[in-house]
Amino acid sequence: MPYALCFLLFVIGLYCVLVKKNMVKIVIGILVMEYAVNLFLIMLGYRTGGIAPVVADDQVNAAANKVAAAFINASVDPLPQALVLTAIVISLGSLALIISICIRTYEKYGTFDITNIRRLKG
């Protein structure tokens, strides 16, 4: 069920990109899609009653130089978290680029409405 709500968020973002006619709104749609995918990835790694994937001192079995079994059986999946960290920075980068294009377009046309920005045909 949480997956379904996440997918709904993705679809809302897609709707915004497809239907809205304002440049900033389109950017918001893309951002919403990004949030949805990030949440989805983190949810995939969640374990009920899990703990964060950071090994604390008392979870290390010093004698055997091993991580305690209690940690191994309870930690959430660190891999999706690493992927999401990457995805967040990528989305920040593309946000900066697309907003700079929006600002420059605003300077040229004086509007954010893409129906008024139609020099190219087709």
């Binding site: 920075v89 907003i99 700079s100």
Partner: protein
């Protein structure tokens, strides 16, 4: 861009050091506690953004010019790439080989004991530099961009 009142200026010049220290802490302890180069770098950048809002763009421009910032980003990227390539020379032909930890685990290079996570803290510092400079540069560019609508108004 203009600065703000004297109260804001005084407070932000006090607060900036705290933010700065916090960012450094987050970066340097990224291998043992949550956080790391990205979060810490963005916090460092926000210290500069605070200064920029309080004292105005010109003040920051004198202390940290955009071209210098761009060079810092390049330096950070080159440092990160150097860490990656170092694995090729120190190790058995492997890009991004963790040459400190792996040698330590293998019982060689005992003089490198002091950092037992190997390249991870070094890479955190490089990424912190990249992210801090890059984010600051982006926000600086956006805030100082002047609209020149006069000659390009809707035709």
């Amino acid at each position: 861009m203009k600065g703000m009142t004297i109260i804001v200026k005084t407070i932000s010049s006090w607060v900036k050091m705290l933010i700065f220290l916090f960012g450094l802490y987050i970066i340097l302890f990224g291998d043992t506690s949550p956080g790391g180069g990205f979060a810490g770098g963005v916090i460092l950048a926000s210290a500069y953004v605070l200064l920029m809002l309080a004292f105005g763009g010109d003040f920051v421009k004198q202390n940290l010019s955009p071209s210098l910032t761009l060079k810092l980003v390049c330096a950070g990227m080159l440092a990160f790439a150097a860490i990656a390539v170092a694995g090729l020379f120190y190790g058995p032909d492997a890009f991004f080989w963790n040459f400190i930890t792996q040698k330590w685990l293998a019982g060689e290079g005992s003089n490198l004991h002091f950092i037992n996570a190997g390249i991870i803290p070094l890479a955190e510092v490089a990424i912190g530099l990249i992210v801090c400079a890059a984010i600051f540069l982006v926000i600086f560019t956006f805030s100082t961009f002047k609209f020149d609508v006069s000659d390009n108004q809707k035709e």
